[in-house]
């Protein structure tokens, strides 16, 4: 059972690492919008953006 004296502190280190990683993810804004990114992949269009500047340059 002595291995536990090594494994548990190791677990604590992992715990600290995961908390740090989560904090980093929150800070970099990855949890700010949980709705859009999921649908973004469905909507993204592979077609190259068409050249339509003539049509929109006169919009009011």
């Amino acid at each position: 059972m002595n291995i536990i004296y090594l494994l548990i502190p190791l677990g604590l280190v992992l715990l600290a690492l995961s908390v740090w990683a989560f904090f980093w993810a929150v800070r970099s804004g990855q949890f700010d919008d949980l709705d859009s990114p999921g649908t973004q992949i469905l909507l993204d269009d592979d077609r190259a953006p068409p050249v339509v500047h003539s049509a929109e340059s006169r919009d009011a």
Binding site: L12, V19, F22, F31, L43, A60
Partner: protein
């Protein structure tokens, strides 16, 4: 152009179509009908950019596009750029926008892709849940006004936010809560593992040094949970104690703190019980409940930057004879500014010339317009209703009353239903009772069995936590508000919902409410030889352009006469003003006749079915009568029928002529109607109904409704109405659909039912759990689990309100042709 399909709803925004659908757009090779020029333009723009897949993917109603072009050029000025944008080292500028009308991720996609096609826009990121956009652009290649104009052309309203380095308050709160939740969650998982080992060790035998090791490890993990994750409970408990009204966080903080301290002491002394598991579990589940509640609250979609919303986009600064549009923050103390009717006052100041009625309800809560004359003070953010005034600026920026105003607004948005206040008051008493009970239990067990005293007291404190009681209402309220916002109803005051549930009578204004509010001139009859028909129309157009009354829009297609001065509106009656030196009045016949010399010939303004007459006159007599038609909204009849089936009496109160109102009432299914009501008559009707104990809802639109809207128990405004009605209303109906009102009543009733269920559950739970805990049957960890489960149950019950699909609102997210029944 004839429309190819038998559509009844606008393809773009889902509003009911006008009876004669004149506008059609081509999407994917098919013709679709749209309701207005704004929606047609938005759809065409979307199609021109090959973004029509937006219509397949959207999952929430789009709001009708605003046809009126707004002047965004003000944002190209250097000062505006400095205020709203931030220059990056590479010369590009970045800014944040709040986007009104952003309802789902398809909208976000649309804006991102549409702006992405704009040369010079280098980065667009739209956050759908916060309705915010982050934008980076090259000012050398594209003007900011063009970008903003494009967002508006797509049917949204961009609201540039003053640049600040940090995220919004809501995002900051959410991030902090997520971090705390993560610490508590990770901590709970670890501590639970150790606890299970310790419990197993008790049964199977465990080496004492291993036991002590596990306790120390638990201590290490539980410490950040208590000191960091549970911090909000300690802070809030401290505040509530200092305010001498102990809130629900007092027993929470007490039990977490006491259990932690007890456990630490036991650990250090090497014997005695530890409660790390209870502590971390309790903290985690409480934070989880709060987090769900906070998410519901944040989704209310009402977090506009209060100051940005109150200040006008621009102000008209006078320099000598020259008038120049500037942003409000360019103003300095001492500047002269002209404020036109319908505009907001850009800064605190004093009137130099002119007089006008101003709506200062944002500051005073008094909705009746105040007459302000020369020398009177003007307050930034108040709305100029009638006359043109010139003012000198006295206070700007931080000194102005605006900071106060934004606090007021925040408070209005934070206002909670009376049920919630009651629950909080009960909770305060309850907390006192719990602390007293805990003390009693401690004394009792100390004498009977000192070893059992602490765990029992702890169990009592934990199990009785009135969290469920205090979460019951706000969670339900937030969920209902969110669901309503999705269906196109914005609730601006919390109290409105529960009052809507108990409504006895709904009063409808006719013009712009039951009708579409897009009046058209049907006939012009010239009644004197002094003015030609064309001149009459010019004068009428000039005067009515200064009026906010819905009927005034009948004249917008005519070229107004120039040289208009000294314009004053009599709300609900008419407009008076000088045109080329002659004083004219336009409006209701009585009002115009009052302005005539005595004995002038009365021209009976014949009113026929569904038509309203507007009369133009000068000092001598009546000049012309205009017959104006306004069509009923296509869902008006159905809505009134459903309202009756909900047990609420609908009633029409209109300032219009008897004939026109009676015709409308007949068409709507013989609704009780009062015609010829002035604003004060409507007000006294509302008050007399209220004195009979009825709860009155007023649905209105227009300047003459403001005092009535404020007097009613709940005020509802249609979003296309004037700014004023919006400001004063408790509930705003978007999307031009009256039927949203039925859904509003239904959901508010459902909300009250769920609140009652929640409260009943909370009470039942406490009544059962407290005796069990006090008699020592419940271990602290069981108490933590039970209490947390109870809180979560309440929050999840409230979340049910989110799921209900509006029965009466149209399923706009489907392509329109699928929504049509044969």
């Amino acid at each position: 152009m004839e429309c190819a399909t038998a559509e009844t709803l606008c393809f773009h925004c889902g509003s009911p179509l006008p009876h004669e659908a004149a506008l059609a757009v081509q999407v994917g090779g098919r013709l679709h009908a749209v309701c207005c020029g704004g929606c047609a333009a938005a759809t065409n723009l979307i199609v021109a950019q090959h973004l029509e897949r937006f219509y397949d993917f959207r999952s929430a109603p789009t709001r009708p596009a605003d046809a009126a072009a707004r002047n965004w050029c003000i944002f190209d000025r250097e000062t505006a750029l400095r205020r709203y944008t931030h220059q990056r080292p590479d010369g590009e500028r970045e800014l944040s926008l709040q986007i009104e009308g952003l309802s789902c991720s398809a909208c976000a996609w649309l804006i991102e892709n549409s702006l992405g096609q704009e040369p010079g826009v280098t980065h667009v990121l739209v956050n759908a849940s916060a309705a915010r956009a982050e934008l980076r652009f090259d000012p050398q290649r594209v003007a900011l006004s063009r970008v903003l104009g494009k967002i508006q052309a797509l049917g949204y309203v961009p609201l540039p936010l003053a640049f600040s380095a940090g995220a919004s308050a809501g995002a900051t709160e959410r991030r902090a809560a997520l971090k705390r939740l993560a610490v508590a969650g990770f901590g709970m998982m670890q501590v639970m593992t150790f606890s299970v080992s310790l419990y197993a060790g008790v049964m199977q035998g465990m080496a004492p040094e291993l036991k002590q090791f596990l306790r120390f490890v638990s201590l290490i993990v539980a410490t950040p949970v208590v000191l960091y994750a549970a911090q909000p409970f300690f802070v809030s408990a401290w505040h509530s104690l200092r305010a001498r009204s102990p809130g629900m966080d007092v027993p929470v903080a007490l039990s977490i703190g006491a259990a932690y301290v007890w456990s630490v002491t036991s650990t250090l002394r090497g014997h005695g019980a530890v409660y790390y598991d209870s502590v971390v579990m309790f903290t985690f589940f409480l934070l989880l409940g709060r987090f769900v509640e906070m998410s519901l609250r944040h989704r209310q979609g009402m977090q506009h930057d209060a100051i940005a919303r109150l200040l006008p986009e621009s102000a008209l600064r006078l320099e000598g004879a020259r008038a120049e549009r500037v942003t409000p923050d360019e103003l300095h103390s001492g500047d002269r500014v002209r404020v036109l009717p319908g505009e907001r006052v850009p800064a605190d100041g004093r009137i130099e010339t002119g007089s006008s009625e101003l709506d200062e309800s944002l500051l005073t809560g008094e909705s009746a317009p105040r007459l302000r004359n020369r020398g009177d003070a003007l307050i930034a953010g108040s709305l100029n209703l009638s006359g043109v005034v010139e003012m000198s600026v006295t206070r700007i920026g931080q000194d102005s009353t605006l900071a106060e105003v934004s606090r007021l607004l925040e408070r209005a948005h934070a206002s909670r239903p009376e049920v919630a206040d009651l629950a909080d008051r009960v909770a305060a008493w309850f907390v006192g009772g719990v602390l007293f009970l805990a003390a009693g239990v401690a004394v009792y067990w100390w004498q009977v069995d000192p070893a059992r005293a602490f765990p029992t007291v702890l169990a009592v404190l934990v199990v009785t936590c009135p969290c469920a009681l205090s979460l019951a209402t706000p969670a339900a309220l937030a969920a209902a508000t969110t669901a309503l916002a999705r269906a196109g109803l914005l609730v601006t005051r919390g109290r409105a919902l529960e009052r809507l549930a108990g409504a006895d009578r709904i009063l409808f204004d006719k013009t712009g409410t039951l009708t579409r509010g897009e009046p058209r001139l049907a006939e012009t009859r010239v009644l004197s030889t002094r003015l030609s028909a064309n001149r009459c129309l010019e004068v009428a157009a000039a005067l009515e352009s200064c009026s906010g009354h819905p009927l005034a829009r009948a004249f917008t297609s005519f070229v107004p006469a120039s040289g208009v001065s000294d314009v004053r509106t009599a709300p609900g009656r008419g407009v008076e003003g000088m045109v080329d030196g002659v004083r004219y009045r336009i409006g209701r016949a009585e009002y115009v006749l009052e302005g005539c010399a005595a004995g002038s010939p009365l021209a009976p303004a014949a009113t026929e079915q569904g038509h309203t007459s507007i009369v133009l006159g000068d000092r001598i007599g009546i000049l012309a009568a205009f017959r104006v038609t306004d069509l009923l909204r296509s869902d008006a009849r159905e809505t009134l029928k459903q309202i009756q089936s909900l047990g609420i009496t609908p009633q029409i109160v209109s300032g219009d002529h008897r004939g026109a109102v009676a015709a409308a009432a007949r068409q709507l299914g013989d609704i009780f109607a009062d015609a010829g009501m002035t604003a004060s008559a409507k007000l006294s009707l509302v008050q007399s109904l209220q004195s009979q104990g009825q709860r009155v809802v007023m649905v209105g639109d227009g300047v003459n409704d403001a005092p009535v809207l404020a007097a009613a128990d709940v005020s509802v405004a249609i979003a296309s109405g004037t700014d004023l009605a919006k400001v004063n209303a408790d509930v705003i109906l978007l999307g031009q659909r009256l039927s949203g009102l039925v859904y509003g009543v239904e959901s508010s009733r459902r909300m009250l039912r769920i609140i009652r269920q929640n409260l009943a559950w909370a009470v039942l739970y406490n009544v059962t759990a407290v005796p069990l805990a006090a008699s020592g049957w419940i271990e602290p960890w069981m108490a933590a689990l039970g209490m947390s489960a109870s809180s979560l149950l309440v929050v999840l019950n409230a979340a049910r309100l989110l799921k209900v699909c509006p029965r009466s609102a149209a399923p706009e997210h489907q392509p329109v042709e699928r929504a049509i029944h044969a």
